[in-house]
């Protein structure tokens, strides 16, 4: 394939207009000795037909399971057909960031609507136009809290997604901040007493997730009180965004920032990306938050219109003094999320309920197996942890039947031996779950 339209006459005419005799003259500034003589080792060009065949073969080397019982930060939900039809509109996906407002009203308005939905959903007052993913959104929130407060300690619950904590550590190290981990109680919620002990006047932020990595719903309000009492800020994450359809959002329970992964809202699993980071906050932080913000305004004739606003927070204006370095975000994923949420509307609650019912059913089924035990006592949304006789064998058995089992927690929590984190969304049928139990009984 070749996507350059020029014919050889075109090229000749253009060279003449420029006043060069050949293409290589255009590269005269590159010192001779560096000019590439030998092309890098890349397979030969393909026709479109061959391209499709090569890529189909590659995709075919992946084995899709019948269904998966792993969530752990990425969730398999049904995506209504409308989502792809809208994100597939060329006017949206072939556009750049909407710098030129007059010909970008479509995207600007859609993102403004997205911001509004996210703010409502998270119980906060404002939301930005998206971050890279849930993990970097949380890390940026932590860095922001440290910068704003001048404090340099960040407390993060161990029940926060392990990879989020890893990203947090990377960002914190780069900025010279200290990360302190907070244990979980036997209930699976954070250990509030330990938090109280760890909170000192060097703590900029406390980071929790609810539902947390174990699926357990945290009691945010007392945590917020404790955190605020010490002048720190509370950053609350969540796991599966659909939980916000029924659970009280952390923003409403006092969190200063609500951050998390928005993948659940209309974005496919995609082997981990692209996803989108949700970043929502109390209004008072509006001029400090990272990322793009779309604002409503009026044109010269008083008509409502939308623009990128408060850009003085951003790198292209403020450079090294910007609140973040983020430039491109995940606009199309945010558009998908907006369409998804608009499509579900109040049905999102029914979807959350369905996830809870399925999860309860799976849990009961598995607890009916010999030697399986609950690990945490607090209520959960659509994930839960069970200890079983041999977690490796469980996943192996399921895999042999084309089913992805639970997430083995021992990798990240050595103390949680033979403990699996299971997830059941609306994509898992009763039949599927019965089958799982049957397979494991054998």
């Amino acid at each position: 394939m070749d996507y350059c339209p020029h014919t050889s006459e075109d090229i000749e005419q253009m060279q003449a207009a420029i006043g060069v005799a050949g293409i290589d003259e255009l590269f005269a500034d590159i010192p001779e000795k560096f000019r590439l003589k030998q092309m890098p080792d890349i397979p030969a060009a393909l026709s479109e037909q061959e391209t499709v065949s090569v890529m189909s073969d590659l995709a075919g080397k992946n084995k899709l399971p019948q269904f998966t019982l792993t969530g752990a930060g990425a969730y398999h939900h049904f995506i209504p057909a409308v989502v792809g039809h809208i994100t597939g509109r060329a006017e949206f996906y072939t556009a750049y960031t909407p710098y030129q407002a007059e010909i970008s009203q479509g995207l600007l308005q859609a993102i403004y609507e997205y911001q509004t939905m996210i703010a409502h959903l998270t119980g906060t007052e404002i939301a930005n136009a998206s971050m890279y993913d849930g993990a970097s959104a949380m890390a940026e929130a932590a860095v922001l809290c440290a910068k704003m407060s001048g404090r340099n300690k960040i407390i993060v619950a161990r029940s926060v997604h392990p990879e989020y904590r890893q990203v947090l550590r990377t960002y914190s190290w780069a900025n010279g901040y200290t990360v302190v981990e907070l244990p979980y109680a036997p209930s699976g919620q954070i250990d509030l007493e330990s938090l109280q002990r760890k909170l000192d006047d060097q703590v900029a932020a406390v980071l929790v997730q609810s539902p947390n990595f174990f699926g357990v719903i945290e009691d945010i309000a007392p945590v917020a009180d404790a955190v605020h009492n010490k002048g720190a800020l509370l950053v609350a994450g969540f796991t599966d965004g659909t939980s916000l359809g029924i659970l009280k959002p952390a923003g409403a329970a006092g969190a200063d920032f609500v951050v998390g992964e928005g993948q659940s809202f209309g974005n496919p699993l995609n082997y981990g990306g692209p996803y989108l980071g949700i970043f929502a906050a109390k209004e008072k932080f509006m001029r400090r938050i990272p990322g793009r913000l779309v604002g409503a305004t009026v044109d010269k004739n008083g008509r409502r219109g939308f623009v990128l606003t408060l850009q003085t927070r951003e790198q292209h204006i403020r450079r090294e003094k910007a609140t973040s370095n983020i430039c491109s975000n995940e606009a199309l994923c945010a558009l998908a999320a907006g369409v998804y949420l608009a499509a579900l509307g109040k049905n999102l609650k029914r979807l959350s309920e369905l996830n809870i019912y399925k999860t309860q059913y799976l849990k009961n089924k598995l607890l009916g197996l010999a030697g399986w035990k609950e690990v945490f006592s607090s209520p959960v949304y659509n994930e839960f942890v069970l200890r079983c006789p041999d977690s490796k064998k469980v996943n192996e058995k399921l895999k042999n039947e084309g089913i992805t089992g639970g997430y083995d927690l021992q990798k990240n929590y050595p103390e949680l031996e033979n403990s699996l984190l299971f997830c059941a969304t609306e994509m898992i049928s009763k039949e599927d779950m019965d089958k799982v139990a049957d397979i494991l009984k054998r």
Partner: protein, 480 residues
């Protein structure tokens, strides 16, 4: 247009939810009602209204598929449709990131080969595909530089950044705790070598250089620059957002760059999606390989798998493995073009930029009148002084002619900058009619400046009050 909230009516919905095939129960009782929310204020619209809403919104948006989009520094080339199609293959979209390696051999192979291709094209020792965008790649690169000196036991505080640089460069450095010192450009738009020499000390960790720089100019003294940096033990970071100017023609690794980030959503033709998702792979020279983010793909017994066992790694910068589905498109692009096609893309991109530069030179000031690479930067100063018409007016007027405006007021070192990047996928006819429009606007600026200042007149809204937007920010709709 009305907001989705304004067309909402209680009782409607687009997406339904299947009835439960397992027992339902009272969730308040089961979970505790204190954990439940009281309201759920989402729009309620029927499918027909949702589709009309967003479809009509799309029609108020300009994309590459509608017309010429010469937004400088953004490489708005055409996004091949076949890439979109193959990226939607269920094998690519359907896998959970924690799928076991055995089930993900296709994806792992793609990632591994993609890294190898990028190493070959850019002359680096190793690549990571984890960063989600260009700026994220910069941050990752700067983190590795930090780690490199940490490992060496050196505390270098400073990163040098040319005045022409993109804002993400200083911002990424700052987000990594470095102090940013600005490096002056010389009269021909390149690095001021003397200034560099004066700034380069053992306190300097790196120079972040964009080459060609944001003026679209190739650094002729690149060998000297690299030498100055390296002599003092510093590292040379390359912002590869402009790689469409050189891939297949010269390799940053050969030029002495130690770290480089790419923007797949620019050079490798993945659509920008109205602001993302992008993908910002980072390549490093041998000395920095150990610091790459984890996990990395490794191959053993002809099988690929993820490994986190790299003790010197900076860690993770994102969950999972990056914007995988974007990488699928870029991989497809590389495979379908092949090495020769990539080189031709570069050549045609540079040809197109130089052509525009030559055609428009008589009508607009050209601050650096020399051969450019993939983009050219004019200045609107002549128009300002002659008739008070600003670059922003020219940009808006181009909309009325059916074009997306160029990048304006960047780079900062050019007054009233007009930064035009045509890319290689545009035909001569398109360039000619665009130049005709630019020339017509130059004439309009003289003859009817007020007309130009009123532009655009063909859009659903006219110029918007940005001051109001920033003074009384309304970033979240409230029911009134």
């Amino acid at each position: 247009m009305e907001l989705i909230f304004e067309i909402s009516k209680h009782g409607r919905s687009t997406a339904d939810v299947p009835a439960s095939d397992v027992p339902a129960f009272n969730i308040g009782d089961a979970i505790g009602s204190k954990y439940l929310r009281d309201d759920l204020d989402l729009p309620e619209v029927a499918e027909i209204d949702l589709i009309r809403h967003y479809t009509n919104l799309s029609r108020r948006n300009f994309g590459v598929d509608l017309g010429f989009y010469p937004l400088g520094s953004c490489t708005m080339k055409y996004n091949p449709k076949v890439n979109e199609n193959v990226a939607l293959l269920p094998g690519f979209t359907g896998l959970h990131p924690y799928a076991d390696a055995e089930s993900a051999q296709g994806n792992l192979q793609l990632i591994d080969e993609m890294q190898k291709y990028l190493c070959g094209i850019f002359g680096m020792a190793e690549f990571t595909l984890q960063p989600a965008a260009g700026a994220h790649g910069e941050l990752t690169g700067v983190m590795m530089i930090k780690k490199y000196f940490e490992k060496k036991g050196q505390k270098r505080r400073i990163i040098l950044i040319p005045d022409a640089a993109h804002g993400t460069n200083p911002a990424s450095s700052a987000l990594c705790g470095f102090e940013v010192v600005e490096l002056r450009s010389n009269s021909e738009g390149g690095v001021d070598i003397e200034h560099l020499q004066s700034l380069m000390t053992e306190d300097v960790a790196a120079l972040m250089l964009t080459n060609p720089n944001t003026l679209g100019l190739f650094e002729r003294n690149i060998e000297k620059v690299a030498q100055i940096i390296h002599e003092k033990g510093g590292l040379l970071y390359g912002d590869g957002a402009n790689a469409n100017a050189f891939m297949g023609k010269v390799r940053p690794g050969d030029l002495g760059f130690d770290v480089i980030q790419l923007n797949l959503h620019k050079t490798f033709s993945t659509p920008h999606g109205g602001g993302g998702p992008g993908s910002g792979p980072v390549g490093v020279a041998k000395a920095l390989v150990d610091f790459l983010p984890v996990p990395r793909v490794v191959k053993a017994d002809d099988k690929y798998k993820w490994s986190g066992k790299f003790p010197d790694s900076i860690g993770r910068v994102r969950s999972f493995y990056g914007n995988f589905n974007v990488i699928v498109k870029a991989y497809t692009y590389i495979r379908s073009l092949g090495a020769e096609g990539l080189k031709r893309a570069t050549e045609m991109a540079v040809l197109n930029a130089n052509y525009i530069k030559e055609i428009l030179k008589p009508y607009y000031d050209l601050p650096y009148d020399r051969g450019c690479m993939h983009e050219c930067v004019f200045s609107g100063t002549r128009q300002v002084s002659e008739s008070g018409v600003h670059t922003s007016d020219i940009a808006k007027r181009l909309i009325d002619y059916g074009y997306h405006p160029p990048t304006i007021y960047f780079p900062l070192i050019v007054h009233e900058a007009i930064m035009i990047e045509p890319t290689e996928t545009e035909s001569k006819e398109t360039l000619d009619t665009f130049c005709d429009a630019m020339i017509a606007i130059a004439r309009e600026a003289k003859e009817n400046p007020d007309g130009v200042k009123c532009a655009p007149v063909t859009t659903p809204v006219t110029r918007l009050d940005e001051v109001l937007a920033a003074r009384k920010p309304d970033v979240c709709w409230k029911r009134s």
